[in-house]
């Protein structure tokens, strides 16, 4: 998020697009609902599913899966056409050529054209453009509904285009706000658990950075960018990648096209899994290393608003389980690296020495409220709102983004859109949430479908349905709801017994390498 969570109080209008907020990020949803009830915020919801947040919206638009760029371009077209753009912001803070390019591109997206692509009625698009375009402070929230597409990067750029166009960047209550799906995704990125950069996004391929890190760690380093996870699985499938060391992840449930992943894993010469349970992936391992949970350790998480917060050890770990960092240290020292960390705080101190955005932090300073990065010096108060007055790179760049259809769309054989995601009572691959019996009683595997599609199939609520795509099929229970549009089905991905990712398409975004979980084509049959 460019902005902070408490700042929700300062927005006049907010767009939620591609986020089932009350299911995926319930407490942020609560804050948005509070602002709506208090009358300080008007909400616009754009989503194929009529999500709960739509009940609180001033305007709700139901678009076809994968047509986000068209809708956003259409909104921008109308904002420019009516002169609602923030001219001062654009003049001062945006590269003029990039604005011209955007303007030329979005000029094609008339309301009628957008209606044809997305199914959003022209009048509704116009109402959205007016409400958002005229707002003093507008915020935009999204999650995987924007990113998990072959056009994920295009979608993200489009959200940034809109927020620059409206002058909503660097303003309390504004911003582009992706809501992160896991407790420490932000931190994993910040800490350089990425193939192209060290901590704080310092590129591995930049010579000065490489030299700095070699001096800091006292070891020769490779300047060749590494493989992303999705590419690594392809390479393993082809026999090129030989060994995997997996910590705390369960790709055998979470990755697209599971048959492919299983093959890839079976092809490996050596697999180490470090986790808290014998997950589906761990069962495939040659060596399993027992790790600890959040409640058993000290350390920090960085949340979706870049706030670094402390956790403290509450209970002792079972048996001989060790903290992940302790295991890394054992391996490192066996390799002769001579590490010497005594506690999490020792590591955090080292992090602050090589991570400019964390440089001013310490466990003591984090206290009970945490600090937002960037926090470059020991007296810096942290940065709840990014890009005030200036973008870190100077002028902002807009991008002309044409609409591209998803990699797979419904056809005669597979006539229904399939989209996947999360539900409130479960989490990710279920490794943690499914250990709570009450959650399983509240939420089991299902396929959500419209009343119309259910009637056409002749199935009732709770009856078995077979969902098939070109990659595979699952049998699961029908969950019939008015909230789903005709022609679209939704399968949550948490359940090993009916894994959504048997069905999903592993077509990737060409840049971010994110699989297209949010759209593919399926057929539904009575099972």
């Amino acid at each position: 998020m460019t902005n902070d969570i408490p700042g929700i109080k300062k927005s006049d209008v907010a767009i939620i697009i591609g986020s089932d907020t009350s299911e995926g990020h319930p407490v942020i949803a609560a804050r948005i609902k509070q602002a709506v009830m208090e009358g300080t915020l008007k909400l616009i919801v754009i989503d194929p599913k009529e999500i709960k947040m739509a009940d609180f919206a001033e305007i709700y638009a139901q678009h076809r899966p994968g047509t986000d760029v068209a809708v956003l371009n259409g909104i921008m077209h109308l904002i420019i056409k009516n002169g609602w753009e923030d001219k001062e912001f654009i003049n001062e803070r945006v590269e003029p050529e990039s604005y011209e390019a955007l303007k030329a591109e979005v000029a094609n997206y008339t309301s009628d054209y957008v209606e044809k692509i997305s199914g959003v009625p022209a009048a509704k698009l116009e109402a959205i453009a007016e409400l958002f375009g005229k707002a003093k402070v507008g915020a935009l929230y999204y999650t995987m509904g924007i990113t998990q597409h072959t056009t994920g990067v295009d979608n993200v750029k489009s959200t940034a285009n809109l927020q620059m166009l409206c002058g909503n960047m660097g303003v309390p209550g504004g911003g582009v706000n992706p809501l992160r799906g896991q407790s420490n995704v932000q931190g994993a990125c910040d800490m350089g658990a990425l193939p192209v950069c060290y901590t704080a996004y310092q590129p591995v391929a930049t010579e000065a950075v490489q030299q700095k890190m070699e001096a800091f760690w006292g070891v020769k380093l490779s300047n060749k960018p590494g493989c992303t996870m999705t590419v690594a699985f392809d390479k393993a499938y082809e026999g090129e990648m030989k060994a995997f060391y997996i910590m705390g992840e369960n790709p055998l449930i979470s990755d697209p096209d599971l048959h492919h992943i299983e093959h890839a894993i079976d092809n490996l010469e050596f697999l180490v899994v470090q986790d808290i349970f014998l997950t589906e992936t761990a069962q495939k391992a040659d060596v399993v290393l027992p790790a600890t949970t959040y409640a058993e350790k000290d350390g920090t998480f960085s949340n979706t608003e870049r706030r670094v917060q402390r956790l403290s050890k509450a209970v002792n770990a079972p048996g001989q389980a060790k903290h992940d960092w302790e295991i890394h240290q054992l391996v490192a020292n066996k390799l002769g690296l001579n590490w010497n960390y005594g506690c999490a705080e020792d590591i955090f101190k080292e992090i602050t020495q090589c991570t400019p955005s964390y440089a001013g932090m310490s466990f003591e300073r984090l206290g009970r409220k945490g600090l937002h990065w960037p926090c470059p010096t020991a007296d810096h108060p942290g940065t709840p709102v990014l890009h005030i007055g200036k973008f870190s790179k100077g002028l902002g760049t807009m991008f002309a983004i044409p609409f591209k259809a998803p990699a797979e769309v419904p056809d005669g054989e597979y006539p229904i859109y399939l989209t996947t995601g999360r539900i409130l009572q479960q989490f990710h691959t279920g490794t943690m949430s499914r250990k709570t019996p009450g959650f399983n009683r509240l939420a089991g595997p299902h396929v959500m479908m419209s009343v119309e599609d259910a009637e056409a199939l002749g199935v009732g609520n709770g009856e078995d349905v077979k969902v098939s795509t070109r990659r595979g099929s699952i049998v699961t229970k029908a969950f019939i709801t008015k909230r789903m549009p005709k022609g679209t089905a939704f399968v949550p991905f948490h359940f090993a017994e009916a894994p959504a990712n048997i069905l999903t398409n592993n077509a990737l975004d060409p840049i971010a390498k994110i699989p297209e979980y949010k759209v593919c084509a399926c057929k539904l049959e009575k099972a």
């Binding site: 910040d190 760690w217 995997f244 290393l289 079972p318």
Partner: protein, 351 residues
């Protein structure tokens, strides 16, 4: 600004009520409907005090502090009135504290203790409302409800789930879920906000029942392990059994103001689960066997070294985790980069 409370000069802030100013200065006044998060309801009348220049008793939760105000919270008249309110609450409910889960954590008990009420002056015998145990995580005992309205305000105004309201009339007024449904059949999403804010034992976290008295538990501050909102938690731990027995949202949590969702509040069973991995495992002939750390680490290092030697460093891939700490993500990528000499490290941010 300065005000006088019980003869002492005290600092009060602009916009503070008399109750807030008193509490901030360490002066306790019984209060059962007021809660920082939902504000003053002026409903319970437990907070009455005398204020110079104002006639009769005033509910301190609804009067703003003013420069020079002279407040008395403990005059005989005020105490009498407070006692009457608390006495009546105790009389009209089934407050058998000995068995109540809220014992030691109960604001009605605190008020009774403060006012020296040992037992209510009258006891109604006919209080026997059905206990609603239908929901997975919240135990509802209307026999203990004092109709303070906090849960109604919190469910509607704080988490905005719009489930609870007051139903019925007069003497039989009680909290209802939607149109007087059982909690499990209502639209309740089990966020537990109502249970956290209920001052008494009427709304209780079901899974914590019988798991230990609050004063025997350690309270440890942490962060929710599920989604990226980063809600601050208070974990209540039983040291004897090494178990988390209850979770609350930290009221000073900067992102959550005490709120949590169903996962953050009730999803802690995995921590103490019997299936947790307890020793390293090595697979031999397709079967896992328990191993020592030395064996396991030796094997990991010799295998990775051999593969690196044979196929080059880029034949090794490391997957880090969005569920472990910053420190552990840091040490992992450092290990991969300095120990395996490859940048093949990623995590599942994309998924």
């Amino acid at each position: 600004m300065q005000i006088m409370i019980n003869g002492n000069r005290m600092e009060a802030k602009e916009g503070q009520t008399v109750l807030q100013a008193a509490l901030a200065n360490g002066v306790y006044i019984p209060h059962l409907c007021y809660h920082e998060k939902v504000g003053a309801a002026g409903k319970c009348r437990a907070c009455v005090v005398e204020i110079d220049g104002m006639r009769g008793l005033q509910t301190s939760c609804s009067v703003l502090a003013k420069e020079g105000m002279v407040v008395n919270t403990q005059t005989e008249t005020a105490l009498q009135a407070q006692r009457l309110v608390i006495d009546l609450m105790l009389s009209t409910g089934k407050h058998d504290c000995l068995a109540c889960e809220q014992n030691g954590h109960c604001e009605l008990q605190d008020a009774a203790y403060f006012l020296g009420i040992e037992r209510p002056s009258i006891l109604y015998a006919d209080i026997d409302r059905e206990i609603d145990t239908t929901s997975e995580f919240v135990h509802v005992d209307r026999n203990k409800c004092i109709s303070c309205g906090r849960c109604v305000a919190a469910c509607n105004g704080t988490v905005v789930n719009q489930v609870i309201d007051f139903g019925m009339r007069g003497h039989s007024t009680e909290i209802v879920f939607n149109t007087n449904k059982k909690m499990a059949d209502s639209t309740c999403v089990q966020c537990g906000e109502c249970s956290q804010i209920c001052p008494v034992g009427a709304l209780i976290d079901k899974n914590s029942i019988g798991k230990g008295r609050i004063w025997e538990l350690d309270k440890v501050s942490s962060v929710c392990p599920y989604c990226g909102v980063g809600c601050k938690l208070e974990l209540y731990v039983d040291r004897k059994t090494n178990k988390i027995v209850k979770v609350e949202g930290a009221e000073d949590g900067p992102t959550n103001d005490g709120m949590l969702c169903i996962k953050g509040r009730y999803g802690y069973d995995f921590v103490g689960h019997p299936d947790r991995l307890k020793t390293p495992l090595i697979k031999e002939n397709g079967q896992f066997r328990e191993a020592t750390w030395d064996e396991a680490i030796d094997l990991v290092v010799s295998k990775f070294s051999a593969i690196k030697e044979k196929y080059g460093p880029d034949s090794i891939m490391a997957l880090s985790s969005a569920k472990v700490t910053n420190e552990e993500n840091y040490t992992f990528q450092k290990l991969v980069r300095t120990g395996f000499q490859t940048n093949n490290v990623d995590h599942c941010a994309r998924l």
